[in-house]
Symmetry: C2
């Protein structure tokens, strides 16, 4: 088959993903929302989430407007091609749209899932999982659509308008170089969604717990708590919309960076085809995988877990088989090493997921031991959780290290440096190829969580809440794997982006006749200083996001206290709380607090670049990737382990609910909240956004830096 | 003056330092130990500390024996010069001896300080400060002695025995290359002292607090608490002996690495003279500085602080002046840039110290705000402290970055790469040149702390305890500056060592006719993987040391509970606790738990090197330096801020002692204990020991690595 023609698989895959997502939405919406009470609560959550997104998109719109003008000026000053500002917008738009659709479905599915759980566990799972799958498919569908559109448009422009011959290698260099800069829009949007959503959800969660559970002594999700709707809104805007935007940018970033590296490696169009069609193959495998997720009516948790695993492992195996023929067809048997790079990515993602599960699930020793440290109070469980998180970084780092070296050498890195780097980029694509289904297993958790909240608030029978809890807890286990993929792919994509950046600089210098050779040696002092600055950024970033959660939670605490005091009959259940006020506080706080971290991510590489130069930027990017990766794992696993240690005690172990040990575990869980749901996941985006910004400003930095 | 002749300043400085230390010991010992009760307690602490050190030196002796044999084998196989195994021993011996002497004096000074405080604050300060100064002077004296001895011995050997002409540049290359490997002994010893001492002190502290303060409700330092002597022993073996060994290795490391870089820069003997005589100048300035620390009898705290500051700033200014003439004389006016590198180091050290003080002292906003977060319980003060620590890393990173670039370029880095690196090494020497006096202001804190414990246990009047508390609190402020120097110099020294390592590899390759060119580019995948591995090591290391503290503290908790239960009349004060049992538990735990972290520090660069090769090792070293530096600051400042937030509340603010806010702050302080006194300071040594090990095994790795 002709190379260019086979690329049609990408848009076709995109359309299939979107159509199937539409089909799933229809199936989900067919289910009943349950009692009037349930409908009312679901509506309140939906309204709150929409209000939040509306405000977020207004604020983000302003940012995109300003950046668009800046990029336009850079384009007119010839530092960028004219398409970049527009692609910046489409990237941001589609990333935001993914989150929007995912959240719409999730907030429509919560009551339906709760209602499904009234009939049985399996019914609830089907609804929640299908809604999660919508998120997964929309992300890959829109991502592929954006990329395909720009590829074809640029191809038409450079061949049709500028008259570059299709056989000219410069053609693909122009195309991929332009496409590479597109990721900045998606990454910026993702950062806002993750940071804003993360602040919202944890401010509401922590605030609700601190006054409700601790001070007033009412249970979680009690409708008397004025922050309870905000808490449920938070699950949707943080864990669903935020995560969708996050993985959208990983997905797009890995494809555009490996396409650029393909050209650097001299593989041309054939090398571009692999990541783009791999994505399409991933779509098909994921859809087939969703059909594998089935189980009998009398399902218990371990049966359900098996059903979910069948779906994800089934997709992985399918991709592993199809990818072989794809690489063979596109690159020929002489480049079959690239296939093994894909495989390395897939395997590494799964292994990191398993490590995450080992360290954070209460079926294994680490979390059980952590729960036991609560015997000597909150201080020891905090020390225990922090050291568990730090300890858990060792294996993932080694896995990623092996995957990088393996992908590099198996793709021919020993003979050709660029071919090896292409292999590293492709392994990131491999890791993310199952995204359609892994995201589904990840996103259904918050839906189940919400369903549980609705079950509680609508006073449904105890067994319904038990079922939603089972789904939620299952979701925690599968989410661990999802987190492994998110963090691992972020590291690999970040490395691919650094390589792509270096390559981009080379291209720019050649085109502009600037005599510049990259010297990214660690012994070069600007690189070294860059490493330190970059290594510090994830710490600074985490500090700011954690402080933001603290401040916003404080606001919620004040408001809830006020309502408890001023609204008569609230505690007795005769008056209703002003839920909207809490949603409003979280919304405003999230908007305000996400600005500074986002600015740092954008200003640091530009300012750092202007002072330290291109080599310093490479140092900054590498430093941020290294500490960012390690910090992200540490925070995710410490947070997950604290969460599950608390649940382990709540399940009746070590004194059970209400005991002193439980109180100590609650402290751990509260500290873990911003770790695992705000700062940790935001770091993944930070390290890629830094690269994206550097790529967009590459030409500007190259001509204006001090060193 | 002839270059070689001027080098005599080094051993002369060493002798002066040691003689003056001896004089100070005499002065301190002239003071009375006070009541029989006080003598008895002091003796118990002294015995405990000696027992600990004896056991530690036995264990460490075994390690040194094994390493000596390994190094001997490597030397006979021609991977090392034959002197290395012996220098490894002397480095370890002198490092251990520094700690030993410092601790001996400190444990003899505690009762004398308490007794001095019976007479007045100033009297107490004089005794505590003089004892601290012994530590500082012994460290610099013995360090200079070791270095001088080996320099002269090697000079004699290479010129006298091997017949290399004094004018031959190869002579100094041989000398510095051999001297460079000597640091490994000092670093290994330092790691054991810091980790072991850190585990001991915090296990005793945390354990004593958890049962004594929290469970039994008896005050700190209450003689009924069986862990109280162990707690006081801990101050001495951790904060005094551990810190002494730590700074000994920083000091030696910075001098030998910049000597090696001097040769690489083509400066020969003249370039070696600068760091060695700088150290001697530092000794003189420090001694003069100690005479400036004087104050009237009616001194209050701010007067005392001023007195101490006069000493440290006076020494700094003196060094700044003398260094100018020294550099001028040694290197000529054309290389006067090196002087500014020294100045940059001095200024950077002071600035980092000020930053540390800003973030951790309750006179400033960050710690005050942190104390306020205790209003919503332990979870929020933990989140607040962690984010404070993370936030506080930004400025020191920028300070070090500026110092590195400034030192590099001002020393001629733009024209000559190696000259620039020499400048970076020299700035570390500059930063450490005031060590004699900064260490004194740092080491007197734990002595005052001990004196307070003795005052409490010996039932001295309230005013005595108030005075020792004032000294202790003053010590916390000056210790902040000391910590800034320790961390900042660790970063600079680590960078100098990395550069020296690269240079050493070049020399070995040339000598052995191995065709090898260093490619430490971040884009080189082995370097990149090395960066990740190295970046993870401080996390792994911190996890292990924190867990060790947790486990050992658990042991103390059990033992104290047992004694409270089994020893009748203990709580009533009619029976005496079995103090020795707790000392024994801490000693055994520290010995056992320090093995794994130490092995990691030694095995990681060797195993990593054998797999990833020399370039990968550079990646590992840089990765560890970056995250290690950031983590060390984070942990030191978070721990310091928690400590002072608690003290701020105890001083009567925000509800005062016994309030809920105080309880929350105690949780923060307990979490901060292993942060600031075990894991954090150990990281400083880790990052240098990794380099030292890499340098010693350089030749072996170069010939046997896979990549």
């Amino acid at each position: 088959m002709d190379s260019l023609a086979s690329l049609i698989l990408a848009p076709v895959g995109s359309i299939i993903a979107l159509v199937f997502a539409g089909y799933l939405i229809k199936t989900v919406m067919k289910n009943d929302e349950g009692t009037d009470e349930m409908k009312k609560i679901s509506l309140a959550v939906r309204k709150g989430a929409s209000a939040y997104l509306k405000r977020q998109y207004t604020g983000v719109g302003l940012f995109f407007g300003i950046m668009f003008v800046i990029l336009l000026i850079l384009a007119f000053a010839n530092y960028l091609t004219i398409f970049v500002p527009f692609a910046f917008l489409t990237g941001g738009f589609f990333s935001g749209l993914s989150g929007f659709i995912g959240m719409k479905v999730a907030t429509s599915a919560n009551a339906r899932t709760a209602n499904g759980c009234r009939q049985g566990l399996n019914k609830g799972l089907r609804i929640a999982f299908s809604s999660g799958a919508v998120m997964g498919l929309v992300v890959v569908g829109l991502g592929l659509l954006d990329i395909s559109f720009w590829f074809y448009f640029l191809y038409w422009f450079y061949t049709g308008v500028q008259g570059i011959a299709p056989s000219d290698p410069a053609l693909y260099q122009n195309i991929t170089s332009a496409m590479l800069t597109f990721g900045m829009g998606a990454s910026s949007m993702a950062l806002f969604a993750r940071v804003g959503g993360g602040i919202f959800t944890k401010a509401a969660d922590v605030g609700a717990d601190l006054v409700g559970k601790v001070e007033a002594g009412i249970p979680e999700d009690d409708p008397r708590n004025p922050a309870v709707i905000a808490d449920n809104v938070g699950d949707n805007v943080g864990d669903v919309a935020g995560m969708g935007a996050d993985l959208y940018e990983s997905y797009v970033g890995s494809i555009v960076s490996s396409s650029a590296l393909a050209v650097a490696a001299g593989l041309g169009l054939k090398g571009i085809i692999v990541p783009m069609t791999m994505a399409a193959v991933g779509v098909l495998s994921s859809i087939i995988g969703t059909f594998l997720v089935k189980s009998g009516e009398e399902a218990n948790q371990s049966v359900l877990l098996k059903a979910l695993r069948k779906g994800t492992y089934g997709s992985s195996i399918l991709i592993a088989v199809l990818a072989f023929f794809l690489v063979w067809g596109a690159l020929g048997i002489e480049n079959i090493g690239v296939y093994f790079a894909i495989l390395a990515g897939l395997v590494a993602g799964n292994l990191i997921g398993l490590t995450t599960e080992y360290y954070t699930s209460d079926t294994y020793k680490p979390t059980r031991n952590l729960a036991a440290t609560s015997a000597t109070g909150p201080a020891t469980i905090i020390i225990g959780g922090l050291s568990l998180g730090m300890l858990s970084t060792a294996i993932p780092v080694i896995i990623v290290g092996v995957a990088v070296l393996f992908s590099y050498f198996v793709s021919g890195g020993a003979a050709d440096f660029n071919a090896g780097l292409y292999g590293v980029g492709i392994s990131a694509v491999g890791m993310l190829s199952t995204l359609g289904i892994t995201l589904a297993t990840d996103a259904y958790g918050p839906i189940a969580d919400n369903a549980g909240g609705i079950a509680e608030m609508a006073h449904l029978p105890e067994e319904v809440r038990e079922r939603t809890d089972a789904l939620d807890s299952l979701g925690n286990t599968t989410a661990a794997t999802g987190k492994g993929f998110a963090i691992g792919s972020a590291a690999l994509t970040a490395l691919a982006l650094i390589a792509a950046y270096a390559d981009e600089i080379k291209n720019i210098a050649e085109k502009s006749n600037i005599a510049f050779t990259i010297n990214a040696s660690i012994l070069n002092p600007t690189v070294l200083v860059g490493l330190f600055i970059g290594g510090m950024l994830p710490f600074l970033f985490s500090a700011l996001t954690m402080q933001a959660v603290g401040r916003a939670a404080q606001g919620i605490v004040m408001e809830v206290r006020r309502q408890f005091k001023e609204i008569k009959g609230l505690m007795e259940g005769t008056a209703e709380a002003d839920y909207a006020a809490c949603v409003d506080i979280c919304t405003k706080a999230a908007q305000k607090e996400m600005i500074l971290p986002a600015l740092i991510a954008i200003i640091a590489p530009v300012a750092g670049g202007l002072i330290l130069g291109v080599n310093g930027v490479i140092g900054i990017l590498a430093g941020a990737a290294v500490t960012g990766f390690v910090m992200a794992i540490m925070m995710a696993n410490a947070g997950g382990a604290w969460d599950n240690a608390k649940k382990h005690i709540e399940a009746g172990n070590l004194g059970g609910k209400g005991s002193d040990q439980h109180k100590a575990a609650v402290v751990g869980d509260t500290v873990g909240d911003p770790f695992k749901d705000t700062s940790g996941p935001s770091i993944n985006i930070l390290i890629k956004l830094l690269s994206m910004v550097s790529i967009v400003f590459a030409s500007f930095i190259l001509t204006h830096s001090i060193f």
